[in-house]
Subunit: 226 residues, 2 copies
């Protein structure tokens, strides 16, 4: 696919800390591909509802790539979503930034915010494809090492497709930024790095198969930081 | 403080997977105290906006305890929040749950969802207290080892107080739950545990102080999983 730059809309243009805005579409994809979960925001009865959920990505679907979400057909968030603009946020917390002043405490992070009216996926082939992308997003290769969903299971599951057209990326990295006049204060300043890591895969009690390569690879990828 | 059970409202009552609902207020506090960041949902121009942010907690403030949020006085989310119901979600992802069937793939997690109309904190003493709770939530003890915010910095910062009255907690733990007829399928099933861990604290380039005990303690608390 060709990648177009992120075109800020009124919603996605950053008002503050503009130096933290990324305008490169590749940065959006990197945040999406690195993440495992998102927070989905919908409006239900006039109030926001924010729920954590898994997601999948297909960068070759649609002009700007597509994010897939799924849920029970009965889930409030999934029922409400196709009739409205939703907001999907993916956040990586990379470090606690401890400044000499309370005011300049911060967090190193990468976050993506995507807006759009999602499309309810009804085509059975696309629905299966989307669900495979969601499973493979959590563990690459997993969709070919499981029993695929049957008709009954597909009927119980709603799938939403959200174009990656209207999105913004914001990141912060590096050390704390204190005021000039605070640099000699006797307070420690620095960063506590944060990482999401995987522990050793745990077999289900009723499963005595060896941990397969795709599971081992995923756990290693999320291994302890170097 | 006395703790009252979580009273489900129409918004917080779980519709599905009711066995995952916690009704014990202590479980809410545990999710809040374990977390470092939340996702704040507000409605701006009719659409949801979900942003990651830090938070602080004071369980002795108000009848059910209080969550504190802060942001620039110019931030869209903070400006919009005091006039409306907001949603604050805190999520811990504890593990990837890999079933023999695609359908039963899941995530072990603990999440809290809090609804309410926040109060803009204007009293200078409460504002300072709230900001200290936010800093101390990230690193316990930090607020006494920094230069406190001055008048100008306080004026640049908005603080919101949200009562922990209307909230729900949902958790999943344990192995995958496959269908009876899938138990003999030749697919590995189990859990990849996930942890957020801290790396070695990194001094700012212009700071040659030893890493102090409160920083060391925080990093150890988030140490590699046992």
């Amino acid at each position: 696919m060709t990648t177009t730059p992120l075109q800020p809309t009124d919603r996605t243009a950053l008002r503050r800390s503009k130096e933290r805005a990324a305008t490169d579409r590749q940065e959006l994809y990197d945040v999406l591909l690195d993440g495992m979960f998102c927070h989905l925001g919908v409006v239900v009865d006039g109030a926001p509802l924010v729920l954590p959920t898994a997601y999948g990505v297909d960068l070759d679907e649609g002009p700007d790539g597509t994010l897939y979400l799924h849920g029970s057909v009965a889930a409030r968030s999934v029922v409400a979503a196709p009739q409205q603009t939703i907001c999907v946020t993916i956040t990586h917390a990379d470090g606690l930034v401890l400044a000499r002043s309370a005011f300049h405490h911060s967090v190193n992070y990468r976050s993506a915010v995507i807006f759009g009216v999602p499309r309810l996926v009804t085509d059975p082939d696309e629905k299966l494809h989307a669900l495979n992308r969601i499973v493979d997003h959590l563990v690459p290769g997993r969709s070919t090492a499981v029993r695929p969903p049957n008709r009954k299971e597909l009927a119980k599951t709603s799938v939403l497709a959200l174009s990656l057209t209207e999105a913004s990326v914001k990141t912060r990295s590096g050390p704390a930024n204190d005021e000039e006049q605070d640099l000699d204060l006797p307070y420690w300043t620095g960063v506590i790095p944060l990482h999401v890591v995987a522990g050793e895969p745990e077999n289900n009690p009723d499963c005595d198969l060896l941990v397969p390569a795709h599971i081992r690879t995923r756990a290693n990828l999320l291994g302890a930081p170097s």
